[in-house]
Symmetry: C2
Subunit: 245 residues, 2 copies
């Protein structure tokens, strides 16, 4: 067990809009966009996509598409017309994608990755990779910022719950200081919600938005723990699965 | 009971930094800085201060002081040297202040008031005026934004709990739609904490900061409900107690 002084910190940032306030150049930033970008990224890399190139705009994605890349684009929770793939984790559980490179842009998630570009390291968090991610984080000996992608720069519940789940899990290692207000709040919310995440989320904005679009199965997938045990890590411009050397 | 369409909304904004994202020109904004600015403002107006002039900078406050005004200034949780008053609710329970005008600047609270200056209406919220404030808000037929002053633009727990208390109380009227993610989160946190606010706050950043400065009595005051039943409302540049006509 480490002394209080040796412990690293875990802070939660509720929106990319607030992220510049956080000193992040020496921190590992975990980008979280549970519904659905970071859940889809984990699914894709777990099921065999070789690497993902996150880009912030549909325009950039179109440029890559015109050069022959396989491209995924989502806006307003729907696949953008003319693209190969959208933002549903189910689309990425497809053997045909094995070994492929996918260019990827979504409403909130890929913007959050861009916002964090000056961090020491960027990794991807979701309920799908909770256990392996926390295991990996506990070995890095670095301060951690859990960056919630939110919805158009607003606070959202599902990313906060996931941040709370990560803090709740890492706290048990005694390696981290978690008593920042945003971390305390996220942990408490997760502890209230953990036995019935979907029930707790029922009244939330994005949950309803996705249910209206008949995406209840996606929501269920995204709120389930450890379905895609992989740690996506940004190396250069690409997200790849972390592999211990 | 109103139909869903007739209901007004209650949203929580966790930081003045995020406030410009919220459409606020037609909304009532409740500025909340529990530890301690808005608790002190309620105390002052309840105990007989005639009006308060909130100013954002110490510089502005000094200008007023040089013109003979009674001035209060707090930075880093301490009274700024050379000023008449600081930011402790106990200072304002003083019969000598009855009928006076007080110029007031604090680290976070008065900045939040400034951030909200284009709102339809600005009122002051704290645990000290919870019941009368909610009673007043329930009669306005306006959308409400609960603006947490936070700490240097970061999320903080005590303001969020107070926002949660307001949403929790107003929800019972059935006049409001509260299912925004930030409102749901605040309400849930308040419901977890309400039976022991101080115990819940124990690990929070500002609570510790104030305890180190021997301000535990202030904290206790600020977390107690309905000690200063007044609705401070901004009229022109001044906060005055709302009086029904």
């Amino acid at each position: 067990m480490q002394t209080k002084e040796e412990r690293k910190t875990i802070e939660v940032c509720f929106s990319p809009h607030s992220f510049p306030l956080y000193p992040h150049q020496e921190s590992i930033v975990v980008v979280i966009d549970v519904l659905r970008a970071t859940s889809s990224i984990c699914a894709a890399l777990h099921y065999g996509v070789e690497r993902i190139l996150p880009v912030a705009s549909v325009h950039e994605a179109r440029n890559y598409q015109s050069k022959g890349f396989l491209c995924a684009a989502e806006r307003q929770a729907q696949k953008v017309e003319g693209f190969d793939l959208g933002n549903s984790p189910s689309e990425y559980q497809n053997p045909k994608l094995k070994g492929k490179i996918v260019v990827f842009t979504t409403t909130n998630g890929t913007q959050a990755i861009r916002a964090a570009r000056e961090a020491y390291r960027i990794v991807i968090g979701s309920f799908s990779n909770l256990t392996v991610l926390c295991e990996w984080l506990s070995h890095q000996n670095k301060n951690i910022i859990l960056l919630c992608a939110g919805w158009r720069d607003f606070f959202n519940l599902e990313d906060t719950l996931c941040a709370g789940a990560i803090a709740h899990t890492l706290e048990k290692t005694n390696l981290f200081e978690t008593n920042y207000d945003s971390t305390l709040a996220s942990k408490t919310l997760y502890e209230v919600a953990k036995n019935d995440l979907a029930g707790f989320m029922e009244n939330s904005s994005h949950f309803k938005r996705l249910e209206k679009l008949n995406l209840a199965d996606d929501v269920k997938y995204c709120l389930t723990l450890d379905l895609a045990p992989v740690v996506p890590i940004l190396e250069g411009n690409y997200l790849i699965p972390f592999k211990s050397k």
